[in-house]
């Protein structure tokens, strides 16, 4: 497979996962605010940690307009992580690799693009933001379902999977982090919201019954063995995909991406809440996010830049290729 194609598939998949996470995050918090926030000042305090966790502090609506924050996070074309930006970028990447996608997959993505482009999305939002956000999360579920059901599970699909799980691990870590960033101790409602953002409420209840605490919620989202949005699950899947791509057995490594993922997986496998606490939850998450970014870069170098091959053949600078790398 062409390196550039692998890169496009990876980013397409990442942007869709990002749009999905964003939609759920907006919906859950808007919902929570309805019951728990009385005035504009409280609303601002309520949203700030959330915006901080997703690096969206620059998205400042007028101080009295936090009511509109959801709309900005959905429709702002100048904010690169808004839902509309993610969907447009996903389509742009898809457009370059249409030959790798099933027709059904392309139609699904192109339809949501046209839905935003022609203003129907805004109309639906005006009827009720939940209607639009539901539509977006349903789109991403259908898209990911189709990707699994209609794309051959060969190389290209592995890159879809890498993009999806790296983004998901990142999102989960950021959602947990909102709990650290709140001024007061996280409330029961805050914990519920984080679980809802990760669609983890039922899975959590099965394991912990009603025992809602910061320790239980964070442990579950970090370390759950089998919940498909836990950090551990995501990193294990990335590790597996990388080893399937290279054909090297897990537990060993043939490139930097594998080495880094493997050691991160070992760290997650052999860490418990006590260690998280002694290091600090925020610090743990921060370090994890840095590692995730680095894993993404190593994948890019290994499969797209091909530095070792180019170096040995030594002809052409890879400068314009580095420029092609997209914004994290």
């Amino acid at each position: 497979m062409l390196s550039r194609v692998a890169d496009n598939l990876y980013w397409m998949s990442r942007y869709i996962e990002r749009a999905d996470g964003m939609a759920r995050m907006i919906q859950v918090h808007q919902n929570q605010a309805l019951e728990y926030v009385q005035n504009d000042q409280q609303l601002k305090e309520f949203w700030q940690p959330v915006l901080q966790s997703i690096c969206a502090e620059q998205v400042h609506p007028e101080s009295d307009a936090f009511q509109k924050i959801g709309k900005v996070l959905i429709f702002s074309e100048s904010y690169p992580n808004s839902i509309i930006s993610c969907l447009f970028l996903a389509r742009e990447n898809a457009r370059m690799v249409r030959d790798q996608l099933s027709e059904e997959l392309w139609l699904e993505l192109n339809n949501i693009y046209l839905f935003f482009r022609n203003g129907d999305a805004l109309d639906l939002y005006n009827q009720g933001s939940d209607l639009l956000l539901d539509r977006i999360t349903r789109f991403s579920l259908v898209f990911q379902g189709l990707a699994d059901a209609t794309v051959p599970h060969s190389e290209g699909w592995r890159f879809l999977s890498l993009g999806k799980y790296l983004e998901r691990a990142d999102q989960t870590s950021r959602m947990i982090d909102t709990l650290n960033l709140r001024i007061k101790e996280p409330t029961r409602a805050d914990l519920m919201s984080v679980l809802r953002c990760c669609i983890a409420l039922s899975a959590f209840r099965q394991q912990f019954r009603g025992n809602l605490s910061l320790q239980n919620v964070a442990s579950f989202l970090l370390f759950s063995e089998d919940f498909p949005r836990s950090i551990r699950f995501c990193i294990r899947t990335i590790d597996h995909s990388l080893h399937t791509l290279s054909g090297v057995p897990t537990g060993t490594f043939s490139n930097e991406a594998e080495r880094l993922t493997g050691s991160t997986l070992a760290m997650v496998n052999f860490t418990d809440w006590n260690q998280v606490q002694s290091k600090g939850l925020h610090e743990t998450l921060d370090e994890l996010q840095t590692t995730l970014i680095e894993i993404g870069q190593r994948i890019f170098e290994t499969y797209v830049l091909l530095p070792s091959e180019i170096k040995s053949l030594g002809e052409r600078s890879s400068a314009n290729f580095t420029q092609a790398q997209q914004q994290q």
Binding site: L2, S3, D99, N110
Partner: protein, 484 residues
């Protein structure tokens, strides 16, 4: 309730009409009878339903082109007209033979001017015409391209005059586009009017991608193994990008950009997730100028540094060859009938439109005196840019062209205004006659292959003679019928 009668009020006027025999009573030609009755009896609901279906299908599938100079690089669909253009097989056979003859002559000509230049020495074509052609590539002199073929893929535009004679308007021997529309239009028509196909015996066109791939594979320098062919695109912002992905997908080959390729020791490799893979044949949809910044335009980011060297050493094949632009120079065009006689010792089957060359003193004098009755074209432009249609021009435009012709006589040709044939087409006022042309796609590999028909382009604006997509043209499905 009366039956619908869509053709009520349709007028043939003084044009050659593809569907109707004569002016007075609407008598459909035999090969159009079924189509005529089918469309005449369509209800308004059926029409709008099928049109919406077709438009939605194009948009959903992303079958779009990008309009240059439009803010934000808007993607538009190439307007599609539902009424198909029909060509009986007897006519098609003549066209096919004419095109075959033409591509052979053009290739012999290209080979000749990059080698011994016999045609010039024998006084058939003036030397300065070749040397002054913008697209003549001195790098190609003395080089033998794979299989001695230069133009492997050629789109030759045909028009019909007021008597219905087919004439060649121009040859596109560099990177002709439109084949994807030809294929998609057929798919859409089969979905929208399945019954109409029944009993008509329409010749299929779906073989095009396979024939194209075979044409490419024929050029591979490494005969020992399955050739690695790729399609080189300028990228996602090119107006024909959809076509590039479409054809690559249909052929099952990689679509690459310049940055995906790298030249090492005069061989071309593509970067893949499994490392570097050597490339044998490049179907390039990039003009010569952008192919290799080391040889042509140095600021081009679209090409591959070192590609020309690899090509000239015979390590990679290009389709079309470098330097084929001499053949679609509109000044060269004027000499194609002579080439056919000279190289093939045959009479041209498809005549040219009479052409005045502004660099000849007598022709130029005539052109300048008769601007109002002529079409003036830039010799090296395509896509309907750089053109003056005399009888539709303003005095100011004619002044400007007078100045240009005097300043750059080599760059301009002129032709009488041919009143192109018209075809019934859905317009705002109902079905009305609109001017059409025809672009068949000729493939020259082991054999010359032409899929039956081609892309019929239609000028949707009333009275307009310009059919290019960039200038508000649309297209139709083209049916070549097996003889009844």
């Amino acid at each position: 309730m009366s039956l619908p009668n869509q053709f009520q009020g349709y007028t043939v006027e003084h044009f050659f009409d593809e569907m109707f025999l004569d002016r007075e009573c609407l008598q459909a030609r035999a090969h159009y009878e079924k189509i005529f009755h089918r469309f005449d009896r369509l209800t308004e609901e059926e029409i709008s339903e099928r049109r919406q279906q077709a438009d939605a299908s194009f948009l959903e599938h992303g079958i779009t082109f990008t309009v240059y100079g439009d803010e934000g690089g808007t993607e538009r669909i190439f307007p599609f007209d539902l009424i198909p253009r029909v060509i009986p097989e007897s006519e098609w056979t003549v066209i096919e033979n004419g095109l075959r003859q033409r591509i052979l002559a053009l290739n012999l000509f290209l080979n000749d001017i990059y080698h011994g230049r016999k045609i010039i020495k024998d006084g058939v074509i003036p030397e300065e015409m070749v040397n002054s052609s913008k697209n003549f590539r001195p790098e190609m002199v003395g080089f033998d391209p794979p299989q001695q073929i230069y133009a492997h893929i050629c789109g030759t535009d045909l028009i019909r005059d007021d008597q219905g004679n087919y004439l060649v308007l121009e040859d596109n021997a560099r990177c002709p586009s439109g084949a994807s529309y030809l294929l998609e239009n057929r798919q859409i028509m089969k979905r929208a009017f399945p019954q109409t196909f029944g009993g008509m015996s329409v010749r299929p066109v779906e073989a095009y991608p396979d024939l194209l791939l075979r044409t490419l594979e024929h050029l591979s320098p490494r005969k020992s193994q399955k050739p690695v062919c790729v399609l080189l695109t300028p990228g996602v912002y090119n107006s024909a990008y959809f076509e590039h992905t479409f054809l690559a997908r249909q052929m099952g080959i990689e679509i690459v950009e310049g940055k995906d390729l790298i030249s090492i020791d005069s061989c071309i490799y593509m970067r893949t997730t499994r490392g570097l893979v050597q490339v044998d044949v490049i179907y390039r949809r990039l003009d010569d100028d952008f192919l290799d910044p080391m040889v042509f335009r140095s600021e081009s980011m679209l090409g591959v540094a070192g590609l020309m060297e690899a090509y000239l050493k015979g390590n990679v094949a290009l389709a079309n060859a470098v330097g084929t632009g001499v053949a679609d120079d509109k000044v060269t065009y004027a000499y194609v009938p002579e080439m056919i006689k000279y190289y093939l010792d045959q009479e041209p089957i498809l005549p040219n439109v009479p052409t005045y060359l502004c660099w000849k003193d007598c022709d130029r004098a005539y052109v300048l005196d008769n601007l109002e009755n002529l079409v003036v074209k830039a010799a090296n432009e395509s896509g309907g840019y750089g053109m003056l249609i005399g009888n539709q021009s303003t005095a100011k435009e004619r002044e400007e062209f007078t100045r240009l012709i005097k300043a750059y006589p080599r760059e301009y040709i002129a032709q009488p205004i041919v009143s192109l044939s018209r075809h019934p087409t859905f317009c705002e006022e109902g079905i009305a006659g609109r001017h059409v042309d025809l672009r068949p796609f000729i493939l020259y590999g082991e054999d010359v292959e032409i899929v039956p028909g081609g892309l019929t382009r239609v000028a949707l604006k009333k009275g307009s003679l310009v059919v290019n997509s960039s200038q508000g043209g649309g297209s139709k499905d083209t049916w070549v019928l097996r003889e009844f």
